[in-house]
């Protein structure tokens, strides 16, 4: 695999022609610095990562005869940090090759090199004096006009800029990456009054398009936006616990996915983040935000203070709100903390009628409304939490931001909320909620019952919601002009929910075809986990039919949690158990035909995978004309896990790709072997870059969107481009070289050896041999050119025969009931 560089959808130079980021210097290689360095390397930028020179030799260094002048010693800290970072799981790098873009050095020897950087990022320890000292040296070496940013979660940005040269101040800005920077979407941008507009615009755009973050413009106020609201919201809960007589389990059950928050909900999240971190931000806020009407909230309840005293800080201390223990038999159990007695006890099962009522409601907005009306503890908590929160966030405008939507952006991107506070408020009805806020009992410090004036004025002027969708573009209420304005940059996003009302062309239970404009259709899966069953398959054919008739291109994409978890194996299981092999044969044939139709149709088809794209989801993507994928795409042919081989054209496609990679005189068995092992080991990519390395993507036939929010728009643009470039339906392939017996021998030897070495089970061996049989094109006496249909027929035959195996059925059943693969 030659092409290791990630391919980004090229920017259009929207941020002016002058500023290009080729080299970045990252100063400080701690947890944040090293990972920020990795993320820049992820997008192909050359990085110089610097840290301090150690003051003392380690005994091992002494033994090797090294001195404090040896470069190994001088760069020890930075090299260790980088190595630790790269070994972290989940990894901060897209591919094992990424780190080669990072060069390390130290503050004493290598500061002059920052003159070559287009952007200098300071990420040293969170102490103003240390940051200032380092920035003095940056000023000494940096080239005029280059960007300089300080990353911090709480140090006021203007204090760092004060007293520096005009050029420095004009190009200086604060940033706040959330940890881990590769995976958390929020990037706060905090300019000072002296920061040039061009610089702010550039950072907002670059962070969004190139780093893939939701960039949120913040004012230079304590804890900026995300942590200000996030910590308020968390601490508000800690105050409510006693008043509403809630347990740790209650809170986590009530404030989890049902409420549109992450699975780890409230206390579980606190354990992961660390209570000390939370306490530090709270402490900072209580010191630095004296005018906050809710500042009393930052005084922690006594049980939290005691937990901190006892060092029950969460996961790193092995105990926090939860504690994992092992009983005598070695079974582990997670206990919960009783907040009254501060003793750990068995978790209690939490049930609430409100949660049951919200469960069947997929639409989060409707769910919120039902949740709000709950008459039990859950409903009470929802109201007690949200009404003061609405009031609090309304009063933060314009203190922390001039545009309220940035608060929603921060909470979605940084804290994993499905909806931000203003969006929830919209869902509940702004006007009626204002009354409820007033009527709600005062339980949380600062809750006065009165929302900010601008909200009241909004309602008075007849504007009933914070947001509106006009022509598929999201607008926000602008308090100054008392009108709705498009959210900046929103025109470059496609949100299917905002379009489906007016632009739905066709739909069934599993798939909706939506007109994206400019002649491009989108086929949206909406089954559970976006699995592929008969509805999706019928829908895809329908979408292509419609597109071939009246449109010029098709995108396959959705806004769900995953692109697709694969074929609906429940259906396969039923037919296999009933031994309905004719039915099964037809089903697989239809699946294969669908893959083939994606490739062989009169219009360009662009797949837009993200997150999970497994099994059939991977096969469909591989058959599209182009794959526009999110950088975080976990793609793989994982069929071995359920005891079969890829049967929707995936095996055929890998044989075809291997054949295309064969060169005269090459050891073609090795090429086939690599393809074989990728399926045989059910390898799933950990990034788009790795999906390329694993051969799921092909050079020239894919592009990466760093920002998930831009994926559909990028895919649509690609479809337009392909159509305008004069797309013609490809001719079917009949020139696929299969190795026959020249490849089959090593398949049998390899499978047997793996079995003999106990690395795979007997059933794995059988599946491997079937896979090899298909990929070699059967036992042909000599390498032979075959057609795609020949391979598809072999693939289907092998798939069917495996469905007749008891052990395959056990695997499928296990996956259906337990959600993970069975090794039998």
């Amino acid at each position: 695999m030659v092409n290791r560089r990630i391919k980004l959808t090229q920017g259009s130079g929207e941020h002016g022609p002058g500023r290009r980021i080729k080299k970045v210097a990252v100063l400080g290689s701690g947890v944040m610095g090293s990972r920020i360095a990795c993320h820049f390397a992820n997008i192909g930028v050359q990085v110089l990562l610097l840290d301090m020179v150690p003051r003392e030799l380690l005994p091992a260094e002494q033994a090797r005869g090294l001195t404090l002048d040896s470069s190994t010693v001088r760069n020890r800290l930075v090299n260790q940090s980088l190595e630790t970072a790269i070994r972290t799981n989940p990894s901060p790098v897209f591919s094992k090759h990424t780190a080669s873009l990072i060069q390390t050095g130290n503050f004493d020897d290598d500061m002059a090199a920052i003159a070559l950087a287009d952007w200098v990022i300071e990420v040293v320890v969170e102490r103003l004096d240390i940051k200032k000292q380092l920035l003095d040296r940056v000023e000494q070496y940096r080239t005029e006009g280059t960007l300089i940013t300080s990353n911090t979660s709480g140090i006021p940005i203007h204090l760092m800029a004060a007293g520096r040269s005009a050029d420095f101040q004009a190009h200086f800005c604060g940033t706040h990456f959330f940890n881990p920077p590769r995976y958390l979407h929020l990037l706060e941008i905090i300019p000072t009054p002296e920061t040039k507009t061009e610089v702010v615009d550039f950072l907002m755009h670059y962070g969004d398009k190139f780093l893939g973050k939701t960039t949120v413009l913040c004012k230079d106020t304590p804890a900026f936006i995300g942590n200000r609201i996030g910590v308020y919201s968390m601490l508000a809960l800690t105050h409510l616990v006693e008043q509403l007589e809630l347990t740790v389990e209650d809170v986590d059950k009530f404030t989890g996915p049902a409420m549109g928050h992450p699975k780890s909900a409230t206390f579980r999240t606190a354990d992961v983040v660390g209570l000390d971190t939370l306490v530090n931000v709270a402490k900072g806020l209580s010191e630095n935000a004296p005018d906050d009407e809710a500042k009393e909230i930052f005084n922690l309840p006594s049980y939290i203070r005691q937990m901190v005293e006892r060092q029950w800080l969460g996961e790193k201390a092995k105990q926090g709100f939860y504690k994992k223990i092992k009983d005598d038999k070695g079974n582990s159990e997670i206990l919960a903390l009783d907040l009254g007695t501060l003793e750990y006890r068995k978790q209690e099962k939490v049930t609430a009628a409100t949660l049951e009522a919200t469960k069947p409601i997929d639409d989060i907005r409707k769910r919120m409304k039902v949740y709000e009306q709950g008459t039990d503890k859950a409903g009470a908590l929802f109201r007690a939490m949200h009404y003061p929160l609405f009031e609090y966030v309304s009063r933060r405008v314009p203190e922390i931001t001039d545009e309220f939507f940035r608060i929603d952006d921060a909470m979605r991107a940084g804290f994993g909320w499905e909806l931000g506070p203003f969006e929830i408020w919209d869902a509940l009805g702004v006007r009626e909620t204002v009354e409820k806020i007033r009527a709600e009992e005062r339980r949380i410090p600062g809750h006065s019952g009165e929302v900010a004036d601008w909200v009241r004025q909004m309602l008075d002027s007849g504007h009933e919601s914070f947001y509106q969708v006009k022509d598929g573009v999201r607008h926000y209420y602008d308090a100054q002009s008392k009108s709705y304005k498009p959210i900046p940059g929103a025109e470059s996003f496609i949100i299917l929910n905002d379009l489906r009302g007016q632009r739905t062309v066709w739909k069934n239970e599993g798939l909706t075809v939506i007109d994206l404009g400019e002649g491009i259709l989108n086929a949206e899966f909406h089954t559970k986990m976006n699995t592929i069953g008969s509805d999706v398959i019928q829908g895809l054919h329908q979408a292509i039919d419609i597109a071939e008739k009246d449109f010029r291109g098709l995108v396959i994409g959705n806004d769900g949690a995953n692109f697709s978890a694969g074929a609906n194996i429940g259906l396969i299981f039923m037919m296999a158990v009933e031994q309905d092999y004719d039915g099964l044969n037809n089903a697989i044939k239809t699946f294969q035909d669908t893959s083939m139709r994606l490739r062989y149709s009169a219009i360009p088809v662009v797949a837009a995978p993200f997150n999970l794209a497994l099994g059939g989801g991977c096969e469909f993507s591989m058959h599209a004309d182009f794959i526009q994928l999110h950088a975080e795409t976990y793609m793989g042919l994982v069929e071995f896990g359920v005891g079969v081989i890829p049967g929707g054209g995936g095996t055929k496609e890998f044989a075809l790709r291997a054949s295309d990679e064969f060169k005269e005189g090459q050891i073609v068995q090795q090429v086939l072997r690599e393809r074989f092992l990728t399926i045989g080991q059910a390898k799933v990519s950990t990034s788009a870059a790795e999906a390329f390395e694993l051969g799921y993507l092909q050079a020239g036939k894919y592009a990466v969107s760093m920002n998930r929010n831009r994926l559909l728009a990028d895919a649509k643009a690609k479809a337009v481009e392909l159509a305008e470039a004069g797309y013609t339906q490809p001719a079917p392939r009949a020139d696929i070289t299969v190795l026959g017996k020249q490849g089959l021998g090593i398949v049998y030897v390899g499978a047997n050896s793996m079995r003999a070495g106990n690395y795979i089970s007997e059933h794995d061996q059988k599946i491997s041999e079937k896979l090899g049989w298909v990929m070699c094109g059967g036992n042909l006496s000599t390498p032979t050119q075959v057609s795609e249909q020949y391979l598809l027929d072999l693939e289907r035959e092998a798939f069917l025969s495996l469905c007749g195996e008891r052990k395959t059925l056990e695997r499928i059943q296990h996956m259906l009931t337990k959600g993970k693969p069975l090794r039998n």
Partner: protein, 422 residues
């Protein structure tokens, strides 16, 4: 008519794939030994050599195209002496000596260079292109097993546990380290000069070297420091070093360190990288002559091959090969193991070595006295000749008479040769 070994040399053994010979080709390495061999018998007219027989277990790529002939051309610097390549896997280097002896004894030749070479660096185990017969692979997959799996099978069937394997491996290293220290492995080693061409820094270095860039100089208003386009590592440099000591033995290994290693050939197995032979690079050759030639050269012989036996065993437990080959060779010679003063048993794996030792009740006092392949390495096709050269020097040093070189061989075979010092 008797055949006499009148000279024998070897290279030190380098580790593969990242050892001292990683840049040295097999033909170059072997040719150096052949040159030394000829130089050691100044009276011999090299054009009177009848053949060069080269053992090699992976005769493809750099070792392909009949490397035996290439070595005769390169090492002897004459077109008149032919060359042939012989493959009996790990016994190749011994097989060639036996072949030379047999030819001379039957009057088909008077002088033959025999030995073997293997450079495992840069070559996958088993070679580049594996195309097993699919029908056979289905009926007898173990005929194609890798050697590690067979070592596991031997460990299982002959009940050789992990602790014993690790202890055996440790002893091999300790003996080898002591032998190197005492100079017992020095004799017969041809120093090899390795020449390496390299870039003086990794490609890409210098990207942050401010002095390299004019634009940087312009930006900072400082002098560019004589911008040198080659700075940052784009010029080819050469370095040379001489290799004359076996690279494999580790003084720092211990039972604890060996116990930490994970099995590499089977999940839950007992064979590790630590108790297996090392992959290696090396070459070794001897000169075998007829009685007539010996007299005309007026030279005293080193040794003669008393007998040589090979045996077939089940491929899935190929490691037990010596259990069948040794009795064959002894019977031919009319001797017993008690007659042997020293034995070089190739340590392909500790598991098979221990199985052989226990089964034949070999006296370990006389076995691999200077360490074995676990410490010193196992350059497949070279090993038979290398062990023979080592055996001659050790028997000579001890002033003893009989010695044996034996090994297991891939695909279920064993080989054993008995030498008598003269």
């Amino acid at each position: 008519m008797e055949a006499y070994i009148i000279a024998g040399f070897r290279t030190a053994v380098g580790k593969a794939p990242r050892g001292v010979f990683r840049f040295t080709r097999a033909d170059d390495l072997a040719a150096e030994v052949v040159k030394q061999l000829i130089a050691s018998v100044p009276n011999l007219d090299k054009e009177e050599i009848d053949d060069v027989i080269v053992g090699n277990a992976t005769p493809e790529a750099e070792q392909g195209l009949n490397i035996g002939r290439m070595i005769s051309l390169m090492g002897l610097d004459t077109e008149k002496v032919p060359g042939v390549t012989v493959n009996r896997y790990c016994a190749s280097g011994l097989e060639t000596i036996a072949t030379a002896v047999a030819k001379i004894k039957t009057g088909m030749a008077d002088a033959i260079i025999a030995g073997g070479v293997e450079v495992m660096s840069g070559m996958p185990f088993g070679g580049w292109k594996l195309v097993p017969n699919p029908e056979v692979a289905q009926r007898h997959p173990d005929w194609y097993w890798g050697m590690g799996l067979t070592a596991e099978a031997v460990a299982k069937e002959y009940r050789v546990n992990r602790e014993d394997q690790d202890a055996f491996a440790l002893a091999s290293h300790q003996k080898a380290i002591a032998a190197i220290k005492n100079g017992h492995l020095k004799d017969g080693v041809v120093p090899i000069t390795v020449r390496e061409n390299y870039l003086d820094a990794a490609v890409g270095a210098g990207q942050w070297d401010a002095s390299n860039y004019l634009d940087a100089a312009l930006h900072t208003g400082q002098q560019g420091g004589g911008a040198n386009p080659t700075k940052g590592g784009n010029s080819i440099k050469t370095r040379e070093y001489v290799v004359d000591t076996d690279e494999g033995p580790r003084a720092d290994t211990s039972l604890e360190a060996l116990a930490k290693l994970k099995p590499v050939f089977a999940a839950g197995g007992s064979v590790t990288a630590g108790n297996s032979s090392q992959t290696s690079d090396g070459a070794a050759f001897v000169l075998v002559v007829s009685e007539k030639k010996l007299k005309s050269l007026n030279i005293s012989p080193i040794a003669r091959l008393v007998s040589y036996g090979v045996a077939g065993v089940p491929p899935r437990i190929m490691g037990i090969g010596p259990i069948h080959a040794i009795p064959k060779a002894l019977k031919m010679a009319g001797m017993t193991l008690d007659d042997m003063n020293l034995i070089e048993l190739n340590e392909a794996f500790a598991s098979q070595s221990l199985a052989v030792i226990r089964e034949l009740k070999i006296n370990t006092e006389i076995l691999n006295v200077n360490g074995g392949a676990i410490a010193l390495g196992h350059p497949l096709g070279c090993s038979g000749a290398k062990l023979s050269v080592q055996l001659f020097h050790e028997l000579k040093r001890r002033n003893q008479r009989y010695g044996m070189v034996t090994m297991c061989v891939g695909n279920g075979q064993g080989a054993a040769g008995i030498f008598e010092m003269l």
